[in-house]
């Protein structure tokens, strides 16, 4: 048994806010304080240290076809950050589109113990699981993308019963070994294949005549009815378009009270005011979030520097290609299933739009009151590489630091932003909520993201440094399932992570029309699109962790 003594515990799931207490760990789990006769094999004194659960990133593009496109596209970026073989760790590369190995090591070195790839295309699921199988250290999961796939749109257009849609969504979760459902530019990826260049929330799809609103509603309902813990994960229409805040607010309302999660909401909080017709609508978006308890969001914070944007939103990425830096870009139409776009991008602090994007993200963080419903992301690598999280945490926790950065950005953008008037500084407790307890709750990970008895012993210990960036960049200790894996910000023990999936109940009768569809129109068999449970460990995960869903009557 391992005892972590005298640490200051931040465990929001149990309302514990900086209480000094001992933790006991046995067989990879946190256990109750044993009697005085218990044998303690190892004692670590953590006096003065901050102790939290392992951090969980619920939206990070860590693996899958479009990530590999980004990697292959950017040798010049990798060359700035080569990673040698060392100890039991593989060589690779870091920065904007890191290799799988490096992704796992660097997440662990920041105290993350679980990461969720938010955009797995079902026809690309096996590839995604192969890639994620080579991401060590952290547990993983993926959200299956639906909403622009032709089978779904055909069902919706033909007025199929919601129960049939639920079965198809259930089948997709099961067959692609997914943890949640994501919709990206609802219907828009498909519309782009029919040469549409935009599709607003209530605009009819050029072929199917259904609207993005209908897509969102049908999928949000299906996810809810199937009892999937994480609500429908929505990348809304009109990403990046000035004035899109109206669409975003309308999308929130379209859920009609059903739970939804709006992702990288920073990219969806833009107005059209001012000389440049580009302004912050963070206040309006944050107010709506504060009002609507059925809606959660992650921010997708922009931080300055070179990165690469990767998205399933082929329509909007095609539109963004003229901003590519370096000037090269990839767009792909994929298997009557979805699409993707990869556009390298350099966010510049002296550029008005980029600087305002930076300020809009921070405004959203500071204006949304409930840290249980707003999550810390950069939409890695779209807003910035995940390795910039410690810097972002400092921006949230340290107003003087934030204001000093505000002084450096494009002056016009700084003047347009109300960021300086926001005095809020996140507490350690709130950081623990938004990076641990809240994502675990949102995903239905009952034994992660907290430090109660029975929890998996994913534990992070930080030195309480006033420089929060330094503090969060290099935890003193990281434990994964009770094993010490990181010491002083360096991997000391390479482990493999598990794959979280949901296993909803659905009527397998859906395979009959689905198989007929695949046999008629696709170039693969339905049976071969399905990724079996047995394949997951062969793909590389240490084990499959199935989460049972309790269906809710339709």
């Amino acid at each position: 048994m391992l005892r972590l003594k005298n640490g200051r515990i931040y465990d929001p799931a149990h309302g514990v806010d900086g209480v000094v207490r001992d933790l006991y760990i046995e067989d990879g789990r946190i256990v109750a304080a044993p009697g005085p006769d218990a044998r303690i094999d190892r004692d670590i004194d953590l006096a003065g240290r901050v102790v939290m659960g392992g951090a969980i990133d619920l939206h990070t593009h860590i693996g899958g076809g479009k990530l590999n496109i980004a990697r292959a596209l950017l040798p010049e970026d990798h060359r700035q950050d080569p990673v040698p073989t060392s100890g039991g760790m593989h060589a690779g590369c870091g920065h904007a589109a890191p290799s799988t190995w490096t992704t796992g090591y660097r997440y662990a070195e920041m105290g993350y113990t679980a990461c969720f790839e938010p955009a797995m295309q079902p026809t690309n699921a096996r590839h995604t699981h192969l890639e994620m199988g080579d991401i060590p250290m952290v547990d993983k999961g993926a959200y299956a993308m639906l909403g622009s796939d032709d089978f779904f749109l055909r069902m919706l257009a033909s007025g199929a019963d919601q129960r049939l849609i639920n079965d198809y969504v259930g089948w997709t979760l099961d067959a692609s070994q997914a943890m949640a459902i994501k919709v990206v530019n609802p219907g828009g990826i498909s519309a782009f294949k029919f040469n549409a260049r935009s599709l607003d929330l209530d605009e009819a799809h050029p072929y199917y005549r259904v609207t993005p609103r209908q897509v969102v509603q049908a999928l949000a309902r299906a996810v809810h009815d199937l009892g999937v813990a994480h609500p429908l994960h929505v990348h809304a229409s009109n990403l990046g378009v000035p004035g899109n805040a109206d669409t975003t607010l309308a999308t929130m309302a379209a859920a009609e009270g059903l739970p939804i999660h709006l992702t990288h909401i920073q990219f969806h909080s833009y107005g059209t005011e001012g000389e440049r017709k580009f302004s912050s609508e963070a206040e309006r978006i944050a107010d709506a979030l504060n009002r609507m308890s059925n809606v959660s969001a992650d921010v997708g914070q922009v931080l300055f520097g070179q990165t690469v944007t990767v998205s399933g939103d082929s329509m909007k990425q095609y539109g963004n290609h003229r901003h590519a830096s370096p000037d090269k870009w990839v767009v792909m139409d994929i298997e009557c299933d979805a699409g993707c776009g990869v556009v390298p991008f350099k966010y510049r602090d002296k550029n008005f739009v980029n600087a305002l994007q930076w300020a809009i993200g921070l405004e959203l963080f500071l204006r949304v009151n409930d840290p249980w419903r707003i999550f810390l992301t950069t939409d890695h690598p779209n807003g910035a590489p995940f390795t910039s999280y410690p810097h972002l945490i400092r921006l949230l926790m340290d107003k003087r630091f934030r204001d000093s950065k505000l002084d450096e950005i494009n002056a016009e953008a700084a003047a347009h932003s109300q960021l300086r008037s926001l005095d809020r500084e996140y507490s350690l407790y709130e950081i623990a909520i938004m990076t641990r307890a809240a994502p675990a709750r949102s995903l239905g990970l009952t034994d992660r993201g907290h430090l109660g008895e029975g929890a998996a012993a994913d534990i992070v210990v930080y030195c309480d440094d006033a420089d929060r960036e330094a503090m969060f960049a290099k935890p003193e200790y990281v434990f994964k399932d009770g094993q010490l894996i990181v010491r002083d910000g360096q991997v000391v023990n390479v482990v493999n992570g598990a794959l979280h999936v949901v296993k909803p109940e659905y009527d397998k009768g859906i395979e009959k029309p689905l198989k007929d569809y695949f046999d008629r129109y696709m170039t693969v068999r339905m049976e071969h699109v399905r990724v079996s449970d047995d394949e997951i460990c062969t793909c590389g995960a240490s084990k499959l962790i199935p989460h049972v869903c309790k269906g809710r009557a339709a």
Binding site: G63, L67, N68, R71, A72, L73, P75, H78, R79, P82, P84, T85, A91, G92, C93, A97, S99, T100, W101, T123, N124, R126, H127, L130, E131, D134, D150, F192, K193, F194, N195, Y207, Y318, A324, D327, K328, W329, V330, V331, M332, D333, I334, E335, C336, D337, V342, Y517, R520, Y521, M522, T523, V524, R525, E527, H528, S532, D534, E535, T538, C539
Partner: protein, 428 residues
């Protein structure tokens, strides 16, 4: 005894009566097979390539310098060669993802270089891709949407079922009137298909770039005074361009292997730039054919593990990508590598290139050599004799390979893992 198959056995259960064919980048997954003695017989449907490669008559024999030896000894011998090497080339890479993972692991341990047997053709695409990116599509999109298919410098005959599988009449969006235009040789090899008209424009593949450049100029509104470009009358070019602009979903197809001339990457770049330009008004996509002998999986696996799509060396500071320097033929010719591991588990005709350095071959049991390699280790064929994973040419779809005719031979991954373990002993 070195063999512990239980440790490596991959369990992939697929509840499908059809099997996936691993022998070209199309990865047709509708084959039906039956057992025939030790091997399998293809029931339907198949192409000549599949028929040839699905039958593996030979049980295989490990050899050192052409003389029979046990598998264990062959692995030890390979390990001794590799332990003495400063920079080996792990080449060929004709295997499945599990094999590629093992090959990368061995290369990392030995400080080796990795390249695929079709690396030269792959790099023509990669170079165009890394320079400007592109817009591409996948096979099911072609099947359902493509109304104009332009084949540039290829008739797709290296993929005999391409037309049947990708241009079949059934589209879920209703009847499609499709046109196929072959830029290059005559279109004689293209099958007659209902609802598909086929025409061709004779042009030397080496001059396709000129044609695409002038089409881009015309799209940009720049007039041409030439009466013909690359031997094609300007009127014919204008007519083709008008058709291309009128297409609802056009697909420009090429096969980098067949664009075998100097600076062919620039031809590919001009093709993908034309596709980009056409997208300003309508929808067009490129479709690079390829991916034979596990080429797509090799590049994908290397990319996710190192960041680079092959032609990469494991050096002290980390992986180093030098696609011009790390060309297999060049490395072998210049002596910059001092050992060769040649992996070719799909096709017995893909034998290693001539090399002056010690050569270890992991090949199909029925592989024959003009000059015996230092070590030959027969391996099971992925998708016939062992299960695994393989990517289709479009890199999106990775399919499960099954083992309709399981073999006692080890897989590439198993042999490489043993060699890697043995190099510890050899070095000690």
């Amino acid at each position: 005894m070195l063999w512990h198959f239980g440790l490596f056995e991959s369990s992939i259960s697929v509840s499908s009566p059809s099997v996936c064919c691993p022998f070209c980048g199309l990865l047709c997954d509708d084959l039906e097979v039956s057992r025939e003695g030790e091997g399998v017989r293809l029931e339907r449907p198949a192409c000549p390539r599949a028929s040839r490669l699905f039958s593996i008559p030979d049980p295989g024999q490990a050899m050192i310098a052409g003389l029979p030896i046990s598998l264990d000894e062959a692995c030890r011998s390979a390990a001794i060669i590799l332990s003495g090497s400063h920079r080996p080339l792990i080449g060929g890479l004709g295997c499945d993802v599990t094999g590629h993972r093992a090959a990368l692991s061995l290369a990392e341990k030995l400080g080796g270089v990795v390249d695929h047997m079709h690396g030269r053709a792959q790099f023509r695409n990669v170079r165009a891709f890394q320079d400007g990116g592109w817009v591409t599509t996948t096979l099911s999109e072609v099947r359902n949407r493509a109304d104009l298919i332009v084949l540039a410098g290829t008739d797709a005959s290296r993929y005999p079922r391409f037309f049947e599988r990708c241009l079949a009449p059934a589209s879920q969006f209703g009847e499609l009137t499709r046109k196929v235009v072959v830029l290059g040789g005559p279109a004689l090899s293209i099958p007659v298909m209902e609802g598909v008209s086929v025409s061709s424009i004779p042009i030397d593949a080496g001059r396709l770039g000129e044609l695409f450049a002038v089409m881009r100029a015309r799209l940009a509104g720049i007039p041409t005074r030439a009466a013909d470009v690359a031997g094609v009358p300007i009127g014919q070019i204008e007519a083709l361009l008008a058709d291309m602009r009128a297409a609802r979903y056009g697909v420009l197809v090429w096969n980098a292997v067949e664009l075998d001339f100097p600076q062919a990457d620039l031809t590919i770049q001009s093709a993908v730039n034309l596709v980009k330009d056409l997208n300003q008004a309508t929808r067009w996509s490129g479709l690079p054919l390829g991916g034979d002998d596990g080429g797509t999986s090799a590049a994908q696996t290397c990319t996710w593990q190192t960041g680079y799509p092959l032609r990469t060396a494991y050096e002290i500071a980390g992986p180093r990508y030098e696609p011009l320097l790390f060309d297999s033929d060049r490395l072998l010719k210049t002596g910059e590598v001092d050992a060769l591991v040649w992996i070719s588990a799909f096709d017995p005709e893909r034998t290693p290139p001539a090399a002056d350095c010690p050569t270890v071959v992991l090949g199909r049991a029925d592989m024959r050599f003009a000059r015996a390699p230092d070590v030959f280790i027969p391996v099971a064929v992925p998708g016939v004799q062992h299960a695994g994973f393989l990517h289709r040419m479009d890199a999106v779809v990775a399919l499960p390979l099954t083992a309709p005719a399981p073999s006692s031979l080890p897989s590439v991954a198993q042999v490489l893992a043993i060699i890697q373990r043995e190099t510890n002993h050899a070095a000690a």
